[in-house]
Symmetry: D2
Subunit: 311 residues, 4 copies
């Protein structure tokens, strides 16, 4: 595969997606998301040689929302290792992203780190008695370090809106607290959670941040080992089985790559050994995943032959 | 990778597994399964060159049980294509293999083809007005064709026991029938279902049968295209997300390969582009999956570097 | 209260109900029920003196369906007493009449004798190794004895239709069998169940049959003690909390009398110490209970001051 | 029935209960409840003539907890009438008092006013834009008015403990808020809720407060009409079907009276037309209802012939 092929495929996809009319619905639960242009589309692929293929709105910042869960999950594994599994599982949930039913049946232990309850439990593990401000600083610096871009910021107005309207997440946090799964004061844990979801990044920054997952835990440009190879594989495995809520099976079936979506319309996808990919289109499908983002990744995976399930 | 490496790794694993004491519990719901020696262990790997590495009880027949679901699913996709998705989903279930709860919530449509309800719906699609005997003949000939071994048989005493005691599967079948998801008389569909689960195969036969999934739908020895490449990828994707019931996330996390387990203790696993693998150890974990089978595959995947989630 | 008052109130209600247009939907799942005239309405009240007030189609036979559950429950308590509670509970279900979800959570024990699963378990207790024909004869003779009318019969065409289409009940039976809650062969138990539901009675016959529940277990005309007083109270209690599926709270709230509905549009209601009441109107509400039947009972209870919850 | 009979029966029961060893477990989730003497027992019956029969610790105050739900429900019906039913149902829940599962299925509408979620929704309806302090004052004055005792108080230490540890109730409140069922700020509604549960009353005060429910809405001493007769009946109906969480069927079956329990070990029961009854014994059964309280009421109902389900 030459750089030229990748560049061409990315350009084709970006061109095709601009034409699409069936773009899904932009999330409307907070004004900051509702105001985003549904016609936005960005796609960036960084391959193992460091070559970057970019299409569409590659440098426009969007709210990464649940994509942040990949990175806090990575941080938590680094901080407390397998003890993390005492408070969160790693099985697909078979239910929507914000379901509380499963928590009642399984005594407050969320099914996996990528549904809201699970990510709140992971955030609580990272917070672990520190000041929210310190923890948030650490998360943000981790994103900046991974992307090689210190300009990445939290969108405070998004965070404030989430905090004002996030009743279901407050419910999830308190519910887990009632089982002792949350250790810090719920409002502190949720404060960090709402802010990490409000990190704003472009496709370029996000694709750069995901490189360690595509390359056995190592940043291929700097050679720095972010996580051991086995951990990178395992994070990819959890992304594959749980990264798209109740649409995870569909994503695996169509795209064939580990990925994590956010309600802001972004998806981070990993072609192990080959590339880190970020796509953004704010229109969502019924499961809360980016519709065109998914389609773009399906096409990319097919044209590049990148499916992990075979040539 | 040389043949010698693979041979050595398979031998090491077989030797290690013979020593293991914590072998799980053999399924006891029918006498034919309960009587199997818990100390049995077999492992066979067939790589892309056709080289076969075998360890332990590689040629002992066992009841493949739910592993048959991979092959009836393949047959059904061949017969009716994407229309199959009108009566079965492709999302992980988040519940045990024989749960009926999800069916009530989703109006009789099983979540995926690899839970019991889903496999019954798939079998019903294959039966489709034919005589059970014909359909069973077709399933059996498909297995013989894929393995290149016409000696494969149905164990009639297992089938008879299943039919006598399979009240929960009868419940699932009738429940789906009440929603119109089952089209044939329930007892005919279940007759075929119970018999396909009672197919007896050795690890060698099973690994041979799985080759098309490892090689883009093609039998690498004969060159015959069993399914188009995209379909092979998609079957692997469903195996990865749904192949181990409510332990699918765990299997992906530890082993990193698409796989399908059976309550007889067998697992078929696929390393795309590399190998088809069958393992058998009749002791089960709490999710009904072979405990040592899983461990053996985890070790194999690690030592051979075969995880689909990265090196 | 004079006979004249009761006669007048019953006549008023019958007249009012004839005018009603919003009659609900007749059950359509079998042709025999679908063919019933939605404009039918009958009401019969038998008070403690034996006085009978009848209005509308008081002598037209209809399919009593789930109202039969009251009588098989009574029979089962007579045969095995409190041992019955080992296989069925006595709590409201919080779910529709034919839900299977609760059975999975509670390991095959139905919540109460008045949902389908519970009534099947009760029927199984009565069958208890006998021939279905004998058991059915016993149920039928019990109904004839209670009503003082030996002409009561089973409608065989209704029974045959139920048996042909009752996939969900077959599912419930087999599901309970998988937990060991059903002891007889499922098809025998269901055979009895489908036939008991197909008993055809008029409002007059039904009101007569219910007298023992209104009068401390005693038939006030013959003086015969059908059940001890405490048992009559307890049957009434279960009717109050569970007699209308997921509309039981609503029925208690509006009518204030123990009652049991059937999908044929009948309701048996009991005013303890005062009267046995049967009403019939085949149009059903969303919970599967007779809409006008419920309204008629609400009016009757109010005008006669019969609510058990106070004057 | 003479006063002497009632006095004797109440005395007998109090004597019998003092001997009982199997008293259940005192609630331990807050220190104030955990510290209560498990051997406490009180019983007070006020009949229609105003005669009071008292046994045991009739004048010891205890935390009425969920019994308060009867009175806030009464207040809410008075304030907004049938509009209350837009935000709470009146069906038994079929689940524990603090279950959140049902709320997800039914989009935030609690099943009835007597489970925690329902009572929080009712409290929110009463609060309705007022200051929590005013609303609490109103609730407290209502209790004082009904009991004819202005010394009734809120136990502030109980309220403070509930507020500190009530994570599950906070979860319920926020969860309903996410569906728009709660209109006031959640913390205000919960503040009122936690305080109303912390009202401390004796059996004597509680039995006095319940008189209007036994006498068609009227206080028989003062002649004051608290609620119209139909409303009193309806409140009794909801108590009968929903007053003991997932033990409501059992209570109806055994006791045969409308009743409402609290986790402090109190039960208010109503014999319509006959008496208002309060019992207290702090040991609880598995459903969170007073074990000896229930037994005492069962005996009282039997010996006095007060069951609403027949003589």
């Amino acid at each position: 595969m030459s750089n030229a092929t990748l560049d061409r495929v990315v350009k084709e996809i970006a061109d095709e997606m601009i034409e699409r009319k069936d773009r899904g619905e932009v999330a409307t639960y907070i004004p900051e998301l509702a105001g985003v242009d549904v016609n936005s589309f960005g796609l960036v692929v960084v391959d193992s040689s460091g070559h970057i293929a970019a299409g569409g709105d590659a440098d426009t910042s969007f709210s990464i929302q649940s994509i942040s869960k990949v990175f806090t999950f990575t941080l938590a594994l680094g901080m407390i290792g397998d003890k993390l599994w005492q408070r969160v599982g790693r099985e697909p949930s078979g239910s929507p992203f914000n379901s509380i039913v499963q928590l009642e049946r399984e005594r407050g232990i969320p099914r996996n780190p990528f549904i809201n309850a699970g990510a709140i439990a992971v955030t609580d593990a990272i917070l672990s008695g520190h000041q929210p401000r310190e923890t948030l600083g650490e998360i943000l610096r981790f994103m900046q370090f991974l992307s090689g871009d210190s300009s990445i910021k939290i969108d405070e107005s998004v965070a404030a809106s989430e905090q004002r309207t996030g009743f279901r997440n407050i419910a999830l946090g308190n519910y887990m607290k009632s089982f002792g799964v949350i250790e810090n004061p719920v409002e502190l844990t949720l404060g960090v959670y709402f802010h990490q979801c409000a990190i704003a990044m472009s496709c370029r920054q996000l694709a750069m941040a995901g490189r360690f997952l595509a390359h056995s835990g190592r940043n291929p440009s700097t050679g720095f080992l972010v996580v051991p190879p086995e951990r990178a594989r395992r994070i990819n495995a959890v992304m594959l089985t749980c990264g798209h809520y109740d649409g995870s099976g569909e994503f695996a079936y169509r795209v064939g790559l580990p990925g994590k979506s956010g309600v802001g319309g972004g998806i981070l996808a990993i072609a192990p050994g080959k590339a880190s990919i970020a796509v953004w289109s704010p229109g969502l499908d019924a499961n809360g995943n980016s519709r065109l983002g998914r389609d773009a990744l399906e096409t990319l995976s097919k044209r590049m032959g990148w499916s992990i399930f075979g040539a």
